[in-house]
């Protein structure tokens, strides 16, 4: 799948820092939260890139910068070869049509005072060229049908729907402008287990139908593996490992990826006593003041002097088959270690 399409999204050295200010009248900048600090990747048409990492690692900031909801501090986000970070006015508006978002919480991301028809049809108010006025209701009903909702419910309000149905409304809104890229920020984490599978299936079906490219941000690693063609592991604003799903899950090379994968509870009690568990000590450091060199070294069991002085680059390392940012990268299958 990875080679199926040409590159549609190209992210290079993307940086987003939020200034930390002191003082009320005379503000002065005393530092910055380095939320995203040098992220690069490509996304092909019809491909799904999963982004995993703990809270605070910069996943959601990355999503906002990709959507041009935040301007990058430096670096570029190119959609079809054009930089959305530098685009202004009419050009930005046109580019935004091509990249849409599905939010995490279907309870707060839908306006309770708008009907479903208004919510799903709102993108047409802004981008009037997509659907002429008289045609809108029909378009909205089509969209509702595509995501598996009853088109007759167009005049209902969000509170009349369950969590899973609301997430479908959010997805319909994301599809309205026929984008090529959809950024899904934790699209299923607020849903119950039995509903999660329905929404994941819907997302996969839509991808096949419309050849969509997904950026799929989630903390549930089993969901990410299921849906992704490639996976990037983020830690403190950087991608520490990037590769195909099988490469990351079966042959993780970065110690952080290994710890993350081994911490995921396996839904099978057989052999639980001998399962390998790498338990990280402490919490991630603050992104305002990340450690020198490798950012993971403060919690890493492999850390040496070089880790404090030299920052490891994201590259293919000897003995591994995909990119990782660790001086001592070494593949180690943690998921199947017990069997």
């Amino acid at each position: 799948m990875a080679t199926k399409g040409d590159t549609i999204l190209e992210v290079r050295d993307l940086v987003k820092h939020y200034p930390l200010n002191q003082g009320i009248v005379f503000k002065k900048q005393i530092g910055a939260i380095k939320a995203v600090d040098g992220v690069s990747f490509d996304l092909a048409r019809g491909e799904t890139l999963g982004i995993v990492g703990e809270s605070g690692c910069g996943k959601s900031t990355l999503a906002k910068v990709l959507m041009a909801l935040e301007r990058p501090t430096s670096g570029t986000v190119k959609i079809d070869g054009r930089d959305i970070g530098r685009a202004r006015g009419g050009e930005l508006k046109r580019m935004r049509r091509n990249i849409q978002m599905v939010m995490q919480d279907p309870y707060t991301s839908l306006n309770p005072r708008m009907t479903v028809g208004d919510i799903v049809g709102e993108p047409f108010d802004i981008h009037t060229e997509v659907a002429p006025k008289g045609d809108r209701n029909r378009k909205v009903q089509e969209l509702l049908e595509v995501v598996g909702l009853n088109p007759d419910h167009i005049n209902r309000y969000p509170h009349q729907f369950s969590g899973g149905q609301r997430q479908r409304i959010g997805i319909a809104r994301g599809l309205a402008l026929q984008p090529e890229i959809i950024v899904c920020d934790e699209p299923v984490s607020a849903l119950d287990v039995s509903i999660q599978a329905q929404v994941i299936n819907l997302l996969e079906r839509l991808q096949n139908e419309f050849n969509l490219a997904y950026i799929f941000i989630a903390h549930d690693l089993s969901v990410v593996r299921h849906i992704s063609d490639r996976v990037g592991v983020m830690y403190l604003g950087k991608i520490v490992e990037l590769g195909k799903d099988t490469e990351i899950y079966d042959r993780p090379a970065h110690p952080y990826s290994q710890a993350l994968l081994s911490a995921v509870p396996v839904p099978d009690p057989e052999g639980r006593e001998n399962r390998e568990r790498i338990i990280l000590q402490g919490d991630p450091p603050s992104p305002a003041n990340p450690p020198s060199g490798c950012r993971f070294r403060t919690r890493c069991w492999k850390a040496q002097e070089i880790c404090a002085t030299e920052e490891p680059l994201l590259e293919i390392r000897p003995g591994t088959d995909h990119e990782s940012a660790c001086h001592f990268a070494e593949t180690h299958d943690v998921v199947h270690a017990s069997s």
Binding site: V193, I227, P265, L280
Partner: protein, 345 residues
Amino acid sequence: MSKTSLEALPAEGGLGNEPLLAVDDLHVEFATRGGAVKAVNGVSYSLDAGETLAVLGESGSGKSVTAQAIMGILDIPPARIPKGEVRFHGTDLLKLSEEARTQVRGQRIAMIFQDALSALNPVFTVGWQISEMFRVHRGMSKRDSMKKAVELMDRVRIPAAKQRVNDYPHQFSGGMRQRIMIAMSIALDPEVLIADEPTTALDVTVQAQVMELLAELQRESNMGMILITHDLGVVADVADKIAVMYAGRIVENAPVHDIYKAPAHPYTKGLLESIPRVDHKGQELYAIKGLPPNLLAMPTGCAFHPRCPYRQDNCVTDVPPLYEISGTRNSACHYWREVLDGDQG
């Protein structure tokens, strides 16, 4: 129903024939404008010392309400317990006076809540909140109780406990706050610990830390633990036995290995099959169709029948009792044999 469930859940060891904690045919209703909502509808389970019981269910299945009834922290009214017993060492807690319950609550049965940030009081230091346990229940002085608080923070492995005892909840990370909650709950060496989604708000790496800590504390003091969760992975890791809840009832209970090997209720089976697995990559995930029922308008017969692939005519009319499959295993499905066989074949 009450007879069958009593027989169906034999006490495993315990004191005499009585388990440490036994919930028996518990019903809880909430009065609402739309009528009485039956949140818990005849739930029975039991727990022995040193044992971990996982209560698995989706939101609205009644798993937390059951726990709140055990703790005696339901708001009555609007809640009402029309029927049922919660026996602790053989004594029905629901019949005790409020003073007697206060003696049990927190001291002998303690609870950890899901969201540590909202469960802790933001305007008191964590040391003060932990030490409150000793002042209220043990009558200790301020100074002694604060010393105890530091000891406890050490025990749940909060680094630099001595310096941090006077910090406020917002100064701690999510994982550390959950440790503070755990410190408070184990302060008085309870015999039963109820953990209501203790790691749902946490990252996987922190979840692993917290679950390891809980397991260790349990080993040290031989507590019985009720773990309420919707995460099938966490359950497989730590539970000894499982009770699966759906729409206010237990639909299946079994030792942990049995249930993952071959579920005996279509709902459990559907849940297990809807987990994304490596070998199903690229295929459509199995999804239980439909939605959980509205508790105000429960389906007739088996509450799961509108979503069930095994449905027959009598499922629509007859409420299935909790059938006994083996001495330790029950399923509330008329066709549990077919479900069980279907998985093995």
